[in-house]
């Protein structure tokens, strides 16, 4: 055993403690950096030199300490959990958002919604029934019918606008997904080269982990780590990122709602997500894009609203016309068979609906069997307000249905967000920097450094004794 070996042991400690202190410094510096995972210097004792000869009896002490690696204190299982929760909660939050926006368009219950306009329209018929000879009452009826028609078409247009916005948003999000996937692929390449050359890629891994979680929120991506330090990103069962190669997703389908929902005159060209490389469909399991695609589909929330607007328009026109056609107008000579509403063919009913009657005298308020100023037919039309299959009931049940679904979606979104937050909290409790802990660590490293320096001093003094004070007896 060398006389000087103790010095190198002390030196190894000085180096190791300083390195560990550097790691603590890095932790403290990034205490508030989002996505930063705390690191730890893993030290191990260096084994003493092996026994040199068969008869050597000197018990060799170890050769000091060494920092093996700087470990990133992440947990892949907690990361995976955060990702799956993020994917589910993003899906539900986007869905609840769409429903909430749709619901706010309905303006129910209020004095300005469609229900109120319908009631005004029916009440106008009663006024006509009260005064069949009064042109003013008929003018009011026609005017209110026109505003009802324009309310139906603007309600339809409102949903159409929301659909278009959602369509644009989806495309933007998918562009975002593709650039994020490319960034992950680039990070994979860097991490691999750094790891192969024995370096420390912890910060790059943090960055990549954050990006994969972003992708989970968008398209429900999951990550799978490989032995060489790279991470494969799986979306809808297929790899979006493999090592340093990234595939891309693409939104196909109509840009207009008419095409996306198959509203006439357009043919159905549903919005869908496909793999750019081979064009096969990607059926997402979660994430915001999946919610948007579901809401954009003909069976989705917006498609349902469009169907209701059309159904209300058709129902209104059919039920009123069926009675109105059999009634007698105020024309001279009186006519029958006049339609009150007309629905243009080849376009959605909500947009094709218009008031066919322009001359107030054309409003058929009279029973042909009764006198010219009879109002019983107008009264019969007014009774459609209470028809259990009439447009009022149809609209009311739709409004309430949207309300129920919005409430359910919002409650689910709240629950899922809470569970995502708790998963994230678990992840943070494992990965975030605790300043108290770092303070204690710094204290420990500092003390160890001082101790090593003291060992060095002691050795130095021993050597001093040996070199300078030995063999000077009597001098």
């Amino acid at each position: 055993m060398s006389t000087f070996s103790g010095i190198s042991t002390a030196l190894s400690s000085l180096i190791a403690q300083r390195q560990a202190l550097d790691v603590s410094g890095q932790n403290v510096a990034n205490a508030n950096t989002p996505g930063y995972t705390r690191q730890r210097a893993d030290m191990s004792a260096v084994q003493g030199s092996s026994v040199p000869t068969l008869w050597s009896t000197t018990p060799a002490a170890g050769n000091g300490v060494r920092v093996d690696t700087i470990t990133r204190m992440g947990d892949v299982f907690l990361d995976a959990r955060v990702r799956s929760e993020t994917s589910a909660s993003s899906y539900q939050a986007a869905h609840a958002d769409t429903l909430g926006r749709l619901e706010s368009q309905l303006r129910e219950p209020s004095d300005t919604g469609l229900a109120s306009s319908l009631q005004t329209y029916w009440a106008d018929w009663q006024d006509v029934a009260n005064a069949p000879g009064d042109t003013a009452a008929r003018m009011v009826l026609i005017g209110d019918a026109q505003s009802l028609v324009s309310q139906i078409s603007s309600g339809y247009r409102g949903v159409e606008t929301q659909w278009s916005q959602l369509r644009t948003e989806t495309s933007t999000l998918v562009t975002d997904v593709n650039s994020t996937a490319q960034a992950i692929a680039d990070l994979n390449a860097q991490i691999r080269s750094v790891t192969v050359s024995g370096g420390n890629a912890n910060e790059l891994v943090d960055r990549r982990s954050q990006l994969v979680t972003t992708l989970s929120g968008l398209v429900g991506a999951t990550g799978r780590e490989r032995a060489d330090g790279t991470m494969d990103v799986m979306v809808a069962g297929n790899p979006l990122v493999t090592g340093d190669r990234a595939d891309a997703l693409e939104v196909q389908g109509s840009w207009t709602m008419a095409g996306g929902l198959g509203e006439p005159p357009a043919t159905l060209d549903q919005v869908r997500l496909v793999w750019a490389s081979n064009g096969t469909a990607a059926n997402l399991e979660g994430g915001r894009v999946a919610a948007n695609l579901d809401d954009l589909a003909p069976a989705g929330a917006l498609g349902g609203a469009i169907q209701t607007w059309n159904a209300v328009a058709t129902n209104l026109a059919n039920s009123v016309n069926a009675l109105h056609g059999a009634g007698q107008t105020l024309q001279d000579p009186p006519t029958t068979g006049v339609d009150f509403f007309s629905v243009a063919a080849g376009v959605p009913a909500a947009l094709g609906l218009s008031v066919a009657v322009t001359d107030p005298k054309d409003v058929a308020a009279a029973n042909p069997a009764s006198g010219a100023l009879d109002g019983s037919w107008a009264d019969a039309i007014a009774q459609l307000a209470d028809d259990p299959t009439g447009p009022d009931t149809q609209w009311r049940s739709f409004a309430v249905d949207v309300g129920v679904r919005t409430r359910a979606a919002e409650q689910r979104a709240t629950v899922l967000e809470a569970s995502r937050a708790s998963a994230e909290n678990l992840q943070l409790s494992a990965t975030s920097v605790d300043l108290d802990e770092e303070s204690v660590n710094m204290l420990a490293y500092q003390r160890a450094y001082e101790g090593a320096a003291r060992v060095l001093t002691a050795l130095d003094e021993m050597l001093d004794t040996l070199i300078n004070r030995t063999g000077v007896v009597g001098r």
Partner: protein, 298 residues
């Protein structure tokens, strides 16, 4: 590993709590300032469904009130016209009784006949009474008069449509007739009250005994009184339904308010409690996030 608490987790959970506190407070403040508990269906889907139905009922009931008002105006007009008709007919009867006494000379008979013709014209005017331009005794007719006059091609013919009537809807399945059937009240053509008076006048001029005509006048009078009673009954029905709908409307309004509107006292108390909770959370945050071990190490 679970249960490790760091500054960051503390900060996050504190922030989340503050956020949820603030959200609750903003919801309450929105309710306070808007005064409404339900502003969109998802606030309370069941309540919203009820509110929508109640609003519809409210609108319908208001319309029923308007209908009843209109019906009452018709019936008032008819009532006045019929009361006058009955007294005119009484005068006709008196004159007929007077003309029936054989002591009268031709001049007196002529005078009575002339007065009778005048009464006939008055009665015809009453029969042609109109409300807002419509003959109340021929409700669905668009002709100028309900009964044509003596000079027309078909004297005293009724211009209305048999079986047609003017109805006012005062409840979902109740309608009340607002006009009166001119034929029932005054008769038509040769059997009408006008023709009767003409016949009496002709008889007087011809010197025929008019006493037998009294029975015909009495029969017409009792028909008229019967119709008048019917008008009174319908008038009654309309006023009853009007007060009923007023009560219903009040009831609907209070029920709608019970569903849609906030309980002010409750909301204020809740808001106060929320404010206290929020202030508590802020205080705790200020305390918790301050000290670290750094403060105690040199």
């Amino acid at each position: 590993m679970i249960g490790r608490v760091t500054q960051q987790t503390l900060q996050r959970s504190t922030l989340a709590n503050l956020q949820s506190n603030l959200t609750r407070m903003s919801n309450l403040q929105g309710q306070m300032s808007g005064g409404k508990l339900i502003t969109k269906p998802s606030d309370d889907p069941a309540g919203a469904a009820q509110a929508m139905v109640l609003r519809a009922q409210q609108r319908t009931t208001k319309q029923y009130q308007r209908n009843a008002d209109d019906g009452l105006a018709w019936l008032t007009t008819i009532d006045t016209a019929m009361q006058s008709s009955v007294s005119t007919l009484r005068r006709v009867r008196d004159l007929t009784v007077q003309g029936g006494s054989g002591a009268l000379g031709p001049t007196s008979r002529e005078a009575i006949a002339t007065e009778l013709e005048g009464l006939r014209d008055g009665l015809l005017d009453l029969a042609n009474t109109s409300y807002l331009g419509r003959s109340v005794f021929a409700g669905t007719s668009d002709a100028d008069v309900a009964f044509t006059d003596a000079a027309s091609a078909t004297p005293y013919s009724w211009t209305g449509t048999t079986g047609a009537s003017v109805q006012r809807r005062v409840a979902a399945d109740t309608t009340v007739r607002a006009d009166a059937d001119g034929v029932s009240v005054f008769g038509e053509g040769a059997t009408s009250v006008f023709a009767l008076i003409d016949d009496i006048a002709a008889d007087l001029r011809a010197g025929t005994n008019v006493a037998p005509r009294l029975n015909e006048i009495d029969a017409r009078m009792s028909t008229m009184l019967g119709e008048l009673a019917g008008v009174g009954t319908r008038y009654n029905q309309l006023t009853t339904s009007q007060s009923d709908t007023a009560v219903t409307l009040q009831d609907l309004t209070s029920r709608l308010s019970g569903i849609e509107d906030i309980d002010l006292a409750q909301t204020i108390v809740e808001l106060q409690m929320q404010e206290v909770a929020y202030q508590g959370a802020l205080g705790a945050t200020a305390r918790v996030l301050q000290p670290t071990l750094m403060d105690f190490l040199r």
